[in-house]
Amino acid sequence: MKRVEREAMEAMKETVDQSLREMRETFASGRTRSVKWRKAQLGAIIEMVKDNEEKMSDVLFQDLGKHSTEAFRDELGFVMRSATTALNCLDKWVVPKKSNLPLLFYPATGKVISEPYGTVLVLSSWNFPISIKVIEGGPDVATILLQHQWDKIFFTGSPKIGKIIMAAAAEHLTPVTLELGGKCPTIIDHHSVSKDMKSVVKRISGGKWGSCSGQACISVDYVLVEQSFASTLIDMLKPVIRSFFGENPKESGCLARIVTKKHFQRLSRLLNDPRVKASIVYGGSMDEEKLYVEPTILLDPPLDSEIMNEEIFGPILPIITLRDIQESIGFIKSKPKPLAIYAFTKDENLKTRILSETSSGSVTFNDLMIQYMCDALPFGGVGQSGIGRYHGKYSFECFSHEKAIMEGSLAMDLEARYPPWNNFKLNFIRLAFREAYFKLVLLMLGLTKGVR
């Protein structure tokens, strides 16, 4: 490493040490615990987004070519709504939860309180970047941050980095929430949704190309459909894409850019596989200078190609055909568990099979991505798509330690609890544990020898 770089790293280490020290002191002072402080911060977030909406929109357009409507819908509006929900619900969330104790423990009481973990690290991702960042920087900064001890780490990103984060967290026994990705399949059961096919096609197109150009963890990654319907589907997708982005999507201003050259080159590599190139039925053009990839449709790229084995995270949509839509279940099961499964179907049997035979972070029937907006649903993955969840009350829980509190009474005491042990005490406790209170009374009255 060059001296300049080394000095920069040292400086960054200093900054992180200092920041962490300050944050720990702040937490220890108890200031962050009061509901008043929390509400003030949440209110400040709302104000910050409201006052800077235009600026933030501009920045998102600069970084990602995101249209302001998309920016609002997926980021700014979403953050404001989340913060508002938290603000409105906080009083309810902080209330301890009473636990009912078995009669045996009378008159003890029990409850669970949500206690803040302390100092937490949130590693945000680039595709939906508007969130609270304490320290800016790239992977080298993240490495420095990870060497410290945090009370919780929340990471959004790829499974590869997720493993590194979790291994780093293991050194300090830090609990983690990892919001990762995966290949989110979309099943189209064209038999049962034929009447609404126009909506289906529109929703899929919006879900793929209308949100950060397919660069979202819950984007449609690929479509599964019966062979007999494939060409109709493609014929329906084409005009919809044109209606969204016009004849020249590059100039439409409504299609987000690819975030970096590195990602552009990755997508380019996926598409340049000759067998994949041969499967292009729409689009395929790319412009490295403008970091632009045209909305592209593939028909049956080889299943062992790279594009069918890693998360695409871009505006390329493979359509995989099956003889029978029921085969989609086996197909999905053969791949790592995704963050979301989407299924357009009205067939109750198929719905049941999907729910009980596949595993994913979430399942949405007849729409895409909106599970993200439903605050009452936990948002998170399983297996390769992640650990833990958040949104709404789950966010509050994600950053809390659920601490059990039990209070006994010094007034009543049972001799049977204490040594020296004898048969009477043994039988007493056995009966008490079984909540066989009547027999217990008999035992105490000497009317029974107890039970085995």
Binding site: G110, V193, I370, P420, R434
Partner: protein, 482 residues
């Protein structure tokens, strides 16, 4: 001759269990309830053997085995059998205006093939209790009992094979080698009970496969004693919770006491008095206490007692017998805070009493140490109780008693920080081994054009109104009035 467990065996084992899981063996309600009831039969039919194995391994008195292992397990199984239908039912979730019209629910699904690694101090309880959770949640499970309790380990292997469905529930006996081989496999969840040191190794291995973990670890659980407490009952409960629970070798054992300089003589007298009442004048001969598990731990505890500036602080007990692996109940006063006995979890029959000028200081002492699995307070002072419960960070807090929260199925049992992550008991066990899958059902009514490109200011305004759930604004935009 016992076949040596090798890498191929680990792979084959997981492959077989995964096939059973994929075939749906473990998912139905009937299978789960049947397995749980078989566990109940084990408790009913084999209690004497269990008591005997625990006596061989730990010198555990019959009452402790019967109550803290078998009876607790029986309760846990009965609760699961009773509540399973409820637990398995999806939870309805509310939807909002932005996602209208839709309905939502949370579906509980098993994670798949899970690994439970258990500890030596409560070998039956800590093996079967997590397995109850795994089975209730519909998983296939491999149990690795602790090799430091060999009689219990082999009895567990024998009984589980005899009673449970071996296509989905298996026991692997062994030590470091076998555990390492198991950890190289990809599991859908790992549940570990043991030390923080090994907990790190487990989590690091789990990270390779992004496997979620529950780590039930330990720590130094402090007991704060206020001078307004009922000292006789306090002393009895501390003794029963410490020496009466595997002779201090328990994760939530009262580790050390914090009290004022003024009150400490009374505390120590009360402890001495009740100790004699419980265990007689010759506690080394008492059959009512477990022994130290093995010579490694005996030597570890001996070293703690022999440390300079610690050995002269013994005010009660201190006798040792290496052949019988016994150490008498021992109380020490004001050992140095940086001594070994005050730096690591004691896990034995030694009880340091640290005196403070002011009880207030207890908060700093506790906060300056890693977060423990439990923290205890004996007092009648309501304000102190509230402050303690709110500001002391520990897995769980018990006021005016010791360890009882472990037996309450409606309280989550688990640690925080160094004492662990995740929790279980009751429904929390079911949750620990489940994936809560979010399911959203949408219809095709109402496909708003505002969702799709091309974007316009009109669409943006409507979206804003929707996000703010501002009905009036929504109407105004639609009617072109805004």
């Amino acid at each position: 001759m016992v076949k040596v467990f090798q890498a191929a065996d680990a792979t084959d084992l997981v492959t077989e269990l995964r096939r059973s899981f994929d075939d749906g063996v473990t998912r139905g309600y009937e299978w789960r309830v049947t397995q749980l009831k078989k566990l109940l039969l084990i408790c009913d039919n084999h209690e004497p053997e269990i008591v005997s194995a625990l006596h061989d391994d730990l010198g555990k008195p019959e009452l402790e085995s019967s109550v803290y292992e078998v009876a607790l397990l029986r309760n846990s199984i009965n609760l699961a059998v009773k509540q399973l239908k409820d637990w398995m039912a999806p939870d309805k979730a509310k939807t909002s205006l932005t996602t209208f019209p839709a309905s939502a629910e949370i579906v509980y699904e098993p994670l798949g093939v899970v690994l439970v690694i258990s500890a030596w101090n409560y070998p039956f309880l800590l093996s079967i209790d997590p397995v109850i959770g795994a089975i209730s949640a519909g998983n296939a499970v491999v149990l690795k009992p602790s090799e430091l309790a060999p009689a219990s380990s082999s009895l567990l292997a024998k009984l589980l094979e005899q009673y449970l469905d071996s296509s989905a529930v298996r026991v692997v006996e062994g030590a470091v080698t076998e555990t390492t081989l198991l950890l190289e496999q990809k599991w859908d969840k790992i549940f570990y009970t043991g030390s923080s040191r090994i907990g790190r190794i487990i989590m690091m291995a789990a990270a390779k496969h992004l496997t979620p973990v529950v780590l039930e670890l330990g720590g130094k659980s402090p007991v704060v004693i206020d001078s307004d407490t009922n000292l006789k009952i306090t002393a009895k409960r501390i003794i029963a919770g410490k020496w009466g629970c595997n002779n201090g070798q328990a994760c939530i054992s009262p580790d050390y006491i914090l009290t004022t300089k003024e009150f400490s003589p009374k505390v120590i007298d009360a402890l001495k008095q009740e100790l004699e009442a419980f265990y007689g004048k010759n506690p080394m001969e008492s059959k009512d206490m477990s022994r130290i598990v093995n010579s490694n731990h005996f030597d570890r505890l001996s070293k703690m007692l022999e440390e300079k500036e610690v050995s002269d602080k013994i005010v009660y007990g201190g006798q040792k017998n290496r052949d019988k692996l016994k150490i008498a109940p021992t109380i020490l006063v004001d050992v140095p805070l940086d001594s070994q006995i005050m730096s690591e979890e004691i896990f034995g029959p030694l009880l340091p009493v640290i005196t403070l000028n002011n009880l207030e200081e207890c908060f700093d002492v506790i906060r300056s140490r890693p977060k423990p699995l439990a923290a205890y307070l004996f007092t009648q002072n309501q304000k102190l109780k509230e402050r303690f419960a709110l500001t002391v960070s520990a897995g769980g807090i018990v006021v005016n008693d010791i360890a009882v929260h472990l037996a309450v199925p409606t309280l989550p049992f688990g640690g925080v920080g160094e004492s662990g992550m995740g929790s279980y008991h009751g429904k929390f066990s079911f949750d620990a081994f489940s994936h809560k899958k979010a399911v959203l059902y949408k219809s095709f009514i109402g496909d708003a054009a505002i969702r799709y490109p091309p974007y316009s200011t009109g669409k943006l305004r409507l979206l804003k109104a929707l996000v703010n759930s501002n009905i009036l604004e929504i109407f105004r935009v639609i009617l072109g009035l805004s």
